[in-house]
Symmetry: D2
Subunit: 304 residues, 4 copies
């Protein structure tokens, strides 16, 4: 459980005091506000604030004086049109602010999405907590033999036990040393900005992260994808579940056109046209490389 009783009390207090506003309100997002959705062993994602809803997207696209269109069906059609034609600016008119607790090595991937605002807990200024990410046994996978940046089979038995034991004992030892360095007898201890460098990258950090819906969709497309590392994918999935409640029409369009969609090259489109006319196209006659062909097959092949 990642929260202390004091933290939970602060959250409860914020959830207990609704106020009046004239702004657009998303009931779906209100129910998530402040609540910490657990991710990994000590992490969480919680929504701190949001701006806009599905109607706000329509309203901005029309530069209108009032709210969105009169009919939900019209809003949906327009939102799908905007998504299909890469009109990204109306989606930028929604904004969300999240409080995330996550291991440092995940934070290092996450921060590469630059179009966002970030305030991270400072280990120059404050002392980090003794919390490290230790994978579930099911996540202790071997290096993939086909994909240089992926995972292969899950480790078993002694191998897995040995890795887990190392991760746990190293984390404990490093944190002990961190504390030792910070509090030396008879003096003030090593500066925090130095002591932190001895901590391993599975220690947890926290940040406030704020971005607009367009850039959030871009983040989700890359990080909720199968090729993303498991440890960031679970954060993306937790966020996606909230977004589906926040802006259901926009999320459905995103899911159809981006998450469930695929981009085909001109070679792939050419192959498709020939296939649809009954031709038996092979990789050799398609002009594609082995990698392109495999990915193309992955799009059009029926898993059944």
């Amino acid at each position: 459980m990642p929260l202390t009783p004091e933290q939970q009390a602060e959250i409860d207090q914020q959830r207990a005091t609704p106020r009046q506003t004239l702004r657009a309100v998303s009931e779906g997002m209100e129910k998530h506000l402040y609540t910490a959705h657990p991710v990994l062993d000590h992490g969480f994602v919680r929504a701190i604030d949001y701006m806009g809803d599905d109607s706000a997207i329509v309203q901005a696209a029309r530069v209108s004086y009032g709210a969105g269109t009169k009919h939900v069906q019209n809003d949906e059609g327009l939102i799908r049109y905007l998504m299909r034609h890469w009109h990204s600016t109306p989606f930028e008119m929604c904004e969300v602010k999240l409080h995330v607790k996550l291991p440092v090595f995940v934070a290092r991937q996450w921060i590469r999405h630059r179009t966002a605002n970030v305030n991270e807990y400072s280990a120059r200024y404050s002392i980090l907590d003794r919390e490290f990410y230790i994978p579930e046994p099911a996540q202790l996978a071997a290096q993939s033999s086909v994909n240089n940046q992926g995972r292969g089979a899950v480790l078993h038995g002694e191998e897995a036990a040995r890795v887990l034991a190392l991760l746990k004992s190293d984390a404990a030892q490093m944190y002990d040393h961190y504390e030792d360095m910070l509090s030396q007898d008879g003096q003030q201890g090593l500066a925090r900005e130095l002591a932190r460098m001895n901590l391993p990258m599975n220690i947890y950090t926290q940040w406030y992260w704020k971005t607009d819906l367009h850039n959030l969709f871009h983040f989700l497309r890359l990080r909720a994808d199968d090729h993303a590392q498991f440890e960031i994918r679970v954060y993306a999935e937790a966020i996606a579940a909230m977004v589906a409640d926040w802006v259901p029409l926009a999320y459905a369009a995103f899911d159809d056109y981006r998450m469930g969609g695929a981009t085909l090259s001109s070679k792939a489109i050419d192959a498709l046209k020939r296939m649809l006319k009954g031709e038996d196209v092979t990789r050799e006659t398609s002009g594609m490389s082995a990698g392109e062909w495999r990915e193309f097959m992955g799009v059009i092949a029926d898993p059944a």
Copy 2:
């Protein structure tokens, strides 16, 4: 009056229906929401939405679980500290969305502030209204003789009358021709995306513009400044008045450190130190150019 009765009715409806939210609420900003504050002869600025308040800045700076500090005084001290030390990220945690109606030549300056989200009314898709900015006589200034990008004395009498007459008759004529081109007898008329090119740049356009508080402060510092062109400065001033109600502590810090502050070069600081020791420093002994010295004098000279 820039609004039609239908537009005003839409605004009134939005202001009449408060809803409950768990989000941070700024009472100062709620009173502005949707209301169109007039700017120039046909323009306006109105707040459509906002995220965060003074406490949200503190909350983000501390990556906290609850709201800001317990005491307003502490919030104020921290906000001033953040502003003084250029810690910009906590201010980025507030966001505002505005609906602005403005002349095209003002929009062309405004859009140069890139860190913002924009949806502009499309003259490819829609027909623009017959509304042009015609300056007040007091704004009809001659080219400055000392500043290549500034204004000098106000025009008088016949000169002013002649300019005003030209602006008015040209605007009327160009809009007549715009209408003519759009609606030609017996056919559909020239494409809107072409016809618009004949319109002068004092025609009004509209957009939704959304930005965070840090970038908004940067906009205000440059555009509410004396050196900014009058026609964009009045927009900046109208926005500044809303921001002062929205985040009063942050705005006061901005006003003290940025709007009312000044940046001195190392040469200027050196001159100051010598002056404080009683030395009679001149431009020649300061090492500054004529322009630098004039601006330095502008900072330290008492207007009285």
Copy 3:
């Protein structure tokens, strides 16, 4: 011809004085440097500077100590892989700086691409030249009856003549008035920052525009597309021709995966799979809207 003899002389001089450098050099781009490629009636695009070449993309992707891979074929394969998998950061390692002369209404579309650096010729500071975009007769199209932001049939005969006459006489008159306002007898004339507002949006402006290759590809995908307005598309095409010479491998990958490619929704992929199994899928059984179906047919239908 958009250049004065003096301007041409400056360009000739820059092209006449090669210097030595240790940087990556693209022979394909060197041949374009400084030369003004004409666009529209008075506009141009000319490359002022560039950073990087195809090898620089590979070098950055590998964070290598030397140049790219040893073999061009390997570079090509890696570049295609990066493009296919949306690894955008290596493409950001190339940069280009252009000098563009373009009508103001085109500049207003262009500037919406925010991830770029821009210095525009200042009409606050300087006086604009008497140069206006007057379309070729073949470009005088009627408003499309099926697409609210497109063009339909070309205007003919008297209609076309009337539009052309209006555009020409209005441009001449407005520029005459601009000059009148700037130079009034016995005084300094209206401030330039005010006089410019009376100019129509087909007047030409100029800017220096600098962006990285990833963002340039995004610009080209949207602006060299059939749906883009003709007047900006011709600029995009002129730039694309230079990029094809500058980074031929990256451009070929872009052309295959982005310009010639297509994004399919999950509904479209589902329909495709059924079609490939021999099913006769119709719009009704596909679950797509009329617009989606039409666009889907546009992707897979053989134009022959």
Copy 4:
């Protein structure tokens, strides 16, 4: 010495083969190209590419057809004017690409500067080297007792020896375990993307980092400042030394107005005016807080 003979050979080869270009060339930067300037115990900064020079700033500010002004003195005056008046866009017209080797905890601070392009060496894909930052004894400082995010006195004797021993033995042990986990007998070993999480944050990583001169100046102002952590400041200083050779006029203006300059609040300016009139202003009569007053004194006090 951070480079292997093979790496040094690649660098030597690149430096041995000058080519011809028509682009602007900065002789000052050419001499740095590819050379690795050592920073900390295993890190370096080396320039991979650059775009533009001092003249390019002037050329962009004037949107000119040729190079900068005819006279260096004019270029200098304009560059100083642009810097003084926060005209940032001409400085954005210069760009630099660096290859940096740096400890992870430094990289985590650095990456917060978002307006830059980055390709980092991937520890998902590749195996990191056994290289850790171990501070010089002179850098082993205690936590500051007055500044929560600063350093105090240097540790001495046994205390320092104990910290150093811990850092060294922990780094060695963690890297041993990293290798153990990657290469387990009879199987492929733990996935690299997982094994890396057990490494401490003083391990070295590498990246290509590209940014424009305006944003680089912003980086240098914050990171070459006394308040920056020593371990990032030394990188900023190494970069600053190269920039001074690359664009000497722009760097001199930056040094005078930004690095050596100071921003005063309206309260501070008011106090100054009173002081210059001979009044004996105290903190109490200035209206400043203790922190503001201390910093104000730091600006105007003579260290002698």
